[in-house]
Symmetry: C2
Subunit: 322 residues, 2 copies
């Protein structure tokens, strides 16, 4: 067996494809086979992470394995899909057993957390790059699209924002702080938790949804455009974690929340009548604004006056990427 | 719009996803949505091509666009699947309009030839690399697997072998020959035609199938192993194209056919009673051997004696790859 044949064995510990509902055939033939129940659709998304562009090189292999799957699975959450499986296309300059063991362990951990079975892939020699394609199931017509926001809906997010952007100077080694200060932010950067259960809970309730990857302002712009409405964000409502506020002053933390990206929290629009029931069910939703007539995204201060967002003062690794 | 936003516009000319049966939602949201008919399964395969590993760098962008989709679509053919759509993950060092226009034109041409709609993807800055994930439909239980070959079946291929391997010294600029000699071989390397229609015609007839990417001997070994049988290949039955025999002497051509790879012809095992009907229907099948009891692959000379294959004397670009 060649070295790249050996690589594949590292991924054999991922959740067993053949035992996963919907996976009729996993790794080993020319194609994998998926089979849906009657009345279901398949949700599909592809994400590529390139060394030196989307993550620092070198970096911890375990954390990279976690992150590359989490980033892709977050798109399933954004559609409200039930996770099914994923394919992995991995390019590596060389087959280092230590690196591979770590990467596979991180990937397999996130796969188990997300209930995603590895159903296929390709392993090649080349500059370090990971492309993950994820698959999820959805009842026909229940996908959470970007295009359904209605004037009067609330604008909500699934948790604190800006942590990953706040962590970036730490990730890049540009700033050193005490470990207990750094740990929660680094975890949010390296191990974002795709809000899959929340996405499913929002089916039939949220009118539009996406996951925040480009930054709250940019991503709300996507909903506003697709839905032909305006989204108002109230600055004082932005949920900022204690960890972020321990690292940064409030204006800097707010700007990370608005422009930082890499949050992988859901942002969604919700008719007001659904909010109490979701909160009563224990979902930690944060209302940050509302949908109004118009176009684009508006930022409001505590007095309800429109303010211009200033550029985030913290380097975003994603600046290099797209 | 940033330069990578512009890139996406080049791919807008691919077959319209929304007009494709089975594609409920194409590009533009967090996920694409596919919907199958009752009694159908989805076939999925992922292939990565890396610059300098799987193709020369630089190379013609149009030809690369054709080739990266053809290579992936060939896996659908190998399963007997009806083509549906694909996602494209493209990493590029820079966004050159000329290069992108050429690449997209080649990709779109192959997408139209294969009836594959572009349903999603990711475009990033990074070393040149293309990952294509293809999707096809299949009636439940009719996928052509590698594991069903039966003792007594015929071993067949879908056309001439070794052309792409014969073309490789020309692709790499290691050998110059007259254009009319080179053209048909270069076309087989850069624009392999996935045998999608043949694959579908073999449903319910072939007992095992795959597409030849690693070379006939290696790929027949995959069928033999998965089916727990031995495959006999008769050297004199190997279909060699006039173009290949004009470039190489017969032993060299035979070795390209056996070990060269990159053919993307189907190889399959077939109960003998199905051969006449398929040939009468116009399929250019070539019987190259048979399935016997045992393990592995056996090569027979004109006298029916077992011979050892010698290494192909021509550099295979894929030696670097996996």
């Amino acid at each position: 067996m060649d070295e790249f044949g050996l690589i594949r064995q590292y991924f054999a510990a991922a959740p067993c494809a053949q035992a996963t509902a919907g996976v009729a055939l996993g790794i080993g033939d020319d194609c994998a086979l998926l089979q849906l129940a009657a009345g279901e659709q398949l949700a599909i998304s592809t994400d590529t992470l390139v060394a030196g562009v989307h993550f620092p090189d070198p970096c911890d292999a375990y954390l990279l394995g976690q992150r590359c799957l989490a980033v892709a699975a977050s798109d399933l959450a954004a559609m409200g899909a039930t996770p099914l499986g994923f394919t992995l296309a991995l390019s590596l300059p060389a087959a280092s057993p230590d690196w591979l063991q770590g990467f596979a362990a991180g990937l397999n951990k996130m796969a188990q957390d997300c209930a995603l079975a590895l159903i296929g892939g390709d392993t090649t020699r080349g500059p370090l790059s990971v492309t993950v394609t994820v698959f999820g199931r959805l009842p026909v017509g229940q996908a959470l699209l970007r295009s359904g926001a209605q004037v009067g809906d609330l604008l909500c997010v699934g948790g604190s924002l800006g942590d990953a952007a706040g962590a970036l100077p730490l990730v890049l080694g540009q700033r050193q702080v005490a470990a207990e200060l750094a740990a929660p932010l680094l975890a949010r950067y390296w191990s974002p938790q795709p809000q899959l259960a929340l996405g499913q809970a929002l089916r039939g309730k949220a009118t539009a949804a996406l996951d925040i990857s480009d930054g709250l302002l940019a991503d709300c712009g996507h909903i506003a455009k697709a839905s032909a409405v305006a989204l108002q964000i109230e600055l004082e409502r932005l949920p900022l974690s204690p960890a972020l506020l321990a690292l940064l002053d409030k204006p800097a933390a707010q700007h990370c929340a608005l422009s930082g990206g890499d949050d992988y929290r859901l942002a969604f629009t919700l008719p007001a009548q659904h909010l109490p029931a979701l909160q009563a069910a224990g979902w930690s939703l944060v209302r940050i604004g509302q949908v109004v007539a118009g176009r684009g995204v508006q930022l409001l201060d505590a007095q309800g006056e429109t303010v211009q967002p200033r550029a985030c003062g913290y380097q975003h690794f994603g600046n290099l990427s797209d």
